[in-house]
Amino acid sequence: MINRYRLLIRGESIVASSGIALAAILLAVMAASAAWAMHTQRDAAQAGREAQIRTAAVLLVQSVEPLLSANELSATRRLIADVGRFYGLTQCRVVLADGQVLAAAEPLQINVQNLPARWDRRRTADDSSAPGPGILAVSYPINISGHGSAALEITANLTQPLWRYWEAQAGVCATGAAALLALLIVYRRIRAKLRAIGAIREALQAIESGTSVSAELCVSPALGAEASPWNQLLAEVERLRKQSVGERARETLGRRGQPKGDLSAACDAMSQGLILVDDKSNITYANGAAAAFLQAKRDDMAGKALTEFLKVENLLQAIREISNGSSRRRAVVDVERTDEGNAGVLRFSVRPVRREDSASGMIVIEDITQQRVAEEARHAFVAQATHELRTPLTNIRLYVETAIDEGENDPAMRANCLNVINGETRRLERIVGEMLSVAEIEAGSFKMRQDDVRLETIFEELKNDYGPQAAEKQIKLIFNLPPKLPNVKGDRDKMLLAMHNLIGNALKYTPQAGQVTVNVEVSGKQLSVEVRDTGIGISAEDAEKIFERFYRAKDPRVAKITGTGLGLTLAREVARLHGGDITVESQVNEGSRFTLVLPVVAEAA
């Protein structure tokens, strides 16, 4: 529902999921193959290095033997050191049979400086601990002629970390990355091209699943070239449908008019009911509206006696007198109908129709319910308004008289009188203002200014206005305001008027020692003013009507309190003009809660 009247952005999903899956699979395959290649490469490299070291060892033995036999110790040591360094061996040394180290790649290991003349064969493989995996440890016997036997011991680490083999894989990785990039570019291109098609596909699926072909299935033209022909297609379908509706309407309207004469068609176009009766009060003609008013089928009416459809005796009497010619005077009878769901006031105007041969009558039926309601409301309003205006006027006159008579000698009393007069004048002003506003609403010229309204000052003013009034009635008036109130855009005076009405009503209809709480809350872009009282409450029946103008609740306690029945009408009108509303919840004898909601436009300054 939310998206219903926007151009939908569709088509994202058609290639996205498959593209991402493809890329992920590709990446995984590439990573696996690189790892496998690096693994096998490492095994081969290890085997090669081992063979190389063994060959070097054999050659070394062959070189060292004659050198040592010739007592060329330093040359031997150099050779050993060179070999050790060159092949990156962990250990490379010549060990005499008694365990003394004669030469080593690591000079610190050497513990015999000169070649001894003889040595024991004490040492026989004393540390023959098995080498770990990836460690090569070999020992080759050397026979030093004229001295004795020795051994060339070599230990080397064959393993290299796996990452050492990345170079060979770099090419593969680069190729893979380039391929992925190319894929991404192609994907983006395809996606851009397919978006409109995807959107159209989704729209088609929506149609298949029961959505009607309408403007809501439009595809945003931004999605691609296919969108606008699709939208044209939709518009064309919509246009054809509307055309057919229009044609149907004209056809049905036309059909109704065709077979009848002009006069009959004209009578049917009347919103007033029209019935013609002959001198026996039998119906000779009835139009559609008359049938509707009498709740009968029009085709059944012609030729039947009027008494079948009308049961109001004084009306029937009047019709009889006029239609049979005994009375020439026009008669008007208002009939109030009280049927459930179809209540109203019908005005029957009966006139004689003169003909030479026979008498007959014409009855015009009008629905005057709304006029009646308006009339009653006006009467009530005039009565209320006079009363409302008279109360402050009386007060003013009384206090003016008091001030004149006794104020001269008593300045305190004079000040008090003037205060009351001031208050009453303001009340009078507000009443007249309300009446004017209602007149403006009636005339459709109720206009609003757009000010920046500072809510702080409004509530300050309300506190000052109603504080004393509440204290006088011993009502606890509590304002719960948030620490910071935002500014709102709107008509300050009208907003103040609306809140005046809510709080004023709460005080008015709350008996002594009650409580009126004004809770103000700002949440998001909404200001809510909740006025809660412990007053007489409003019945569910009245709650629907209190916002109607001139309406005052039927509670007898309300009748005792003066009021125009305009305040809430105005307050709600003001709230609605500001884009807000007023709602009410109430329980008779428990109290009422009015909530005024206004949108906050301007941010807090």
Binding site: G246, N287, G288, A377, E442, G444
Partner: protein, 111 residues
């Protein structure tokens, strides 16, 4: 779709809220037909909360108008937005309805 109902004097104000589209049309039409039969057909339709109408909704409005035309009345619409008014103009249907600026004007038309 929600249809709120309010009384202004002797007139019922029906206010549908939300777009008037196919799915909501049967309920809407039924409510209107019911209003035609009640209170001697004194009702207005407040269109201020209807962003757009589709063809089935137009058909429903035409049907209700036909029903009202039997007693010489026209369907009173008020506060329709530009989109809705355009649709009515385009389909040549606007002349079938009485259109008012706001509910007050529409209610006053019963005087």
């Amino acid at each position: 779709m929600k249809i709120t109902e309010q009384r202004q004097g002797a007139v019922t104000v029906l206010k549908p809220e939300g777009p008037l589209v196919e799915a909501d049309v049967p309920a809407f039409k039924q409510r209107l037909i019911q209003a035609v039969g009640a209170n001697l057909g004194r009702f207005v339709v407040d269109m201020s909360a209807v962003p757009f109408v589709d063809s089935p909704a137009l058909e429903a409005l035409v049907d209700v108008t036909e029903e009202l035309a039997k007693s010489g009345q026209a369907l009173r619409l008020c506060a329709a937005n530009k989109t809705v008014r355009e649709v009515l103009e385009l389909t040549d249907l606007s002349s079938m309805f009485d259109h008012f600026e706001d509910t007050n004007a529409a209610v006053r038309s019963f005087l």
